[in-house]
């Protein structure tokens, strides 16, 4: 699916996904949430799926995006584009800082460092109550507006209009990130994931590349956080806690590492399952845990790869049948 398809294919596919979701799902809010977490899972996939860096601290960037957008909208109300740009910058800068230190260590120590930074962020947000609202979260977040001077102003006040906005940003981010993983930079990241020592030996300064991918991951994840806070009109403290990091990681692994469509798929499965199962059985998390175990043991490419294989198998048997008819 991702083997360097032309850009319009991805544009088309993601636009179709964004168009179909609200039709098949019970609400625009659920569809919005899916696209938001799909973006966060994409950010995680850049690190884990493409570069082999397991970050347990994605909530830090997600939360930072939420607070950045929340605070800017409450105090300055700058409008949509400046708010998103500010969130991108916040996420990227934070990620560069975390990356700069964390990549000095490998394996489990790297993972622990990302976790430690995120926990640090959590307690800063918790303690900075006058600014962030502490445990109560940041209330009264305003949805930024998009003004075309002398013509009109979009307020995105309804669920539908906010969904349309989210899908536009989702499609743009997806296509940009798909372009990134197909680019020369993406090829270096894949090389680093496979054989870091060799990548360095042929002339790539691996540390710089890792910091660069952190910046992209942080930026994308922060945009997701921004949309989450503006969707809820509220930035809860839980945005920046370890559970959010886990959920993002869960979606990313469930959907399939090394495929951006997988990340979207992971977000859909996780949130739809949550939506349906939570009503049926209070211990629904158990089932998702079971699903993750199955995926990790038997479907290392995640659900997206499993589906792809199943489809190609079905097609293969179709072709065989047709062949035998002829």
């Amino acid at each position: 699916m991702s083997a360097n398809q032309p850009i319009y294919i991805h544009l088309l596919l993601t636009a179709v996904i964004a168009a179909v979701l609200p039709i098949v799902l019970p609400s625009y809010v659920l569809a919005t949430e899916i696209l938001i977490f799909a973006m966060a899972a994409i950010g995680c996939n850049l690190l884990l799926g493409y570069t082999g860096l397991l970050s347990f601290g994605q909530a830090l960037f997600f939360g930072a995006g939420a607070y950045a957008a929340g605070l800017l909208s409450i105090h300055y109300n700058l409008g949509l584009v400046p708010t998103i740009l500010a969130s991108i910058l916040t996420g990227a800068v934070l990620a560069v800082i975390v990356g700069f230190f964390a990549i000095r260590r490998k394996g489990i120590y790297f993972v622990m460092l990302t976790l430690a930074f995120a926990q640090l962020g959590y307690y800063v947000a918790f303690l900075a109550e006058p600014i962030t609202g502490g445990e109560d979260g940041l209330l009264d977040v305003v949805r930024p507006t998009f003004t075309i001077p002398f013509v009109t102003e979009f307020k995105f006040a309804t669920d539908t209009s906010f969904y349309i906005l989210t899908s536009i940003v989702f499609v743009l981010i997806f296509v940009a990130m798909q372009r990134l993983v197909d680019s020369p930079l993406g090829s270096v990241l894949k090389a680093i994931k496979q054989n870091e020592a060799r990548a360095e030996a042929i002339g790539y300064q691996v540390k710089l590349y890792k910091i660069a991918v952190f910046a992209f991951s942080g930026a994308v994840t922060a945009v997701a956080g921004t949309f989450y806070a503006t969707m809820l009109r509220f930035a809860p403290l839980s945005n920046i806690d370890i559970e959010t990091s886990e959920v993002i990681l869960f979606m990313c692994v469930l959907g399939g590492l090394g495929s951006l469509y997988g990340s979207v798929f992971g977000a859909i499965i996780f949130l739809v399952a949550t939506d349906i199962l939570a009503d049926l059985w209070p211990r629904w998390m158990l089932l998702l845990g079971l699903l993750l175990i199955i995926v990790m043991l038997y479907l290392p490419g995640g659900l997206s790869e499993a589906t792809q294989k199943a489809i190609s198998k079905l097609r293969g048997s179709d072709i065989k049948k047709e062949g035998s008819h002829a």
């Binding site: 020369p184 496979q194 030996a201 042929i202 590349y209």
Partner: protein, 250 residues
């Protein structure tokens, strides 16, 4: 004829109290194949890693093409014209043969690897260079295969091919025939023979037959020091070398 491309001067590498390399000095002349041999534990690979920049030297100088390089990082050295291969095959095993080579070529331009706004695209020159190297290492037919699907001998050739993509002035080869079957060795010997017209080669090798066949100069290491240097003929007559290889005589 006597113009050193690489000068190693009093190079020492220490790990704690252990001296892996002590006061190594020798020159590698441009346009030659220079072999480094020695028994296990002689410090050959440590020397190699210092030259490639995998580990920093503790003291001494490495002068390459008139420039002191001992302080440079590993990733900077390919761009100066230093290519290397690994003793234990180290490829991007889940990428195609062609992609392995392309990545090695792309690395030479520091900025190119950071381009994220357009898809990977080879210029005609780049494609031509990849094809040329593929031909050299006799893997043209295998270019679409994953590196992991190659035979061991072919992987060893791809190792050298990746180093060649950097159009190196010097090629550092760490036991290029290690683990190769007898049948595969001639392919490597032929490749090295063909390469001598283009670049200088510093070869670390266990296979004494290969060394005497292709090398112009041989340096023998023993116990972290240089025992002697000379032509293959001189080396095979040297009593000290025989002792080093066969053990101390009592």
């Amino acid at each position: 004829m006597h113009s050193p491309l690489l000068e190693i001067k009093n190079l020492t590498k220490r790990y704690g109290d252990f001296y892996a390399n002590t006061d190594i000095s020798f020159d590698v002349d441009a346009g030659t194949i220079h072999g480094v041999i020695g028994p296990n534990g002689a410090g050959k690979t440590t020397l190699f890693n210092c030259l490639a920049g995998t580990v920093p030297a503790s003291s001494g100088n490495i002068i390459f093409d008139g420039k002191a390089i001992e302080g440079m990082g590993q990733y900077e050295r390919p761009r100066l014209g230093i290519g290397r291969s690994f003793q234990v095959t180290s490829l991007f095993s889940d990428l195609s043969v062609e992609e392995n080579l392309r990545l090695a070529g792309q690395a030479l331009d520091t900025k190119k690897g950071f381009v994220f706004w357009h898809a990977v695209h080879n210029s005609p020159d780049e494609t031509a260079q990849i094809d040329q190297v593929l031909e050299r290492i006799t893997l043209t037919a295998e270019k679409e295969l994953l590196a992991s699907a190659l035979s061991h001998g072919q992987q060893r050739l791809l190792e050298v091919g990746m180093a060649l993509m950097a159009k190196p002035k010097i090629l550092l080869l760490d036991e290029p025939t290690s683990g190769m079957g007898i049948d595969d060795v001639p392919a490597m010997t032929n490749l090295l023979g063909a390469l001598r017209k283009e670049c200088t080669i510093l070869l670390i090798e266990h296979n004494v037959g290969l060394v005497t066949k292709v090398c112009d100069t041989v340096t023998v290491m023993h116990g972290g020091k240089v025992l002697t240097s000379g032509t293959p003929a001189e080396i095979s007559e040297n009593e000290e070398v025989k002792t080093a290889y066969l053990g101390e005589e009592i």
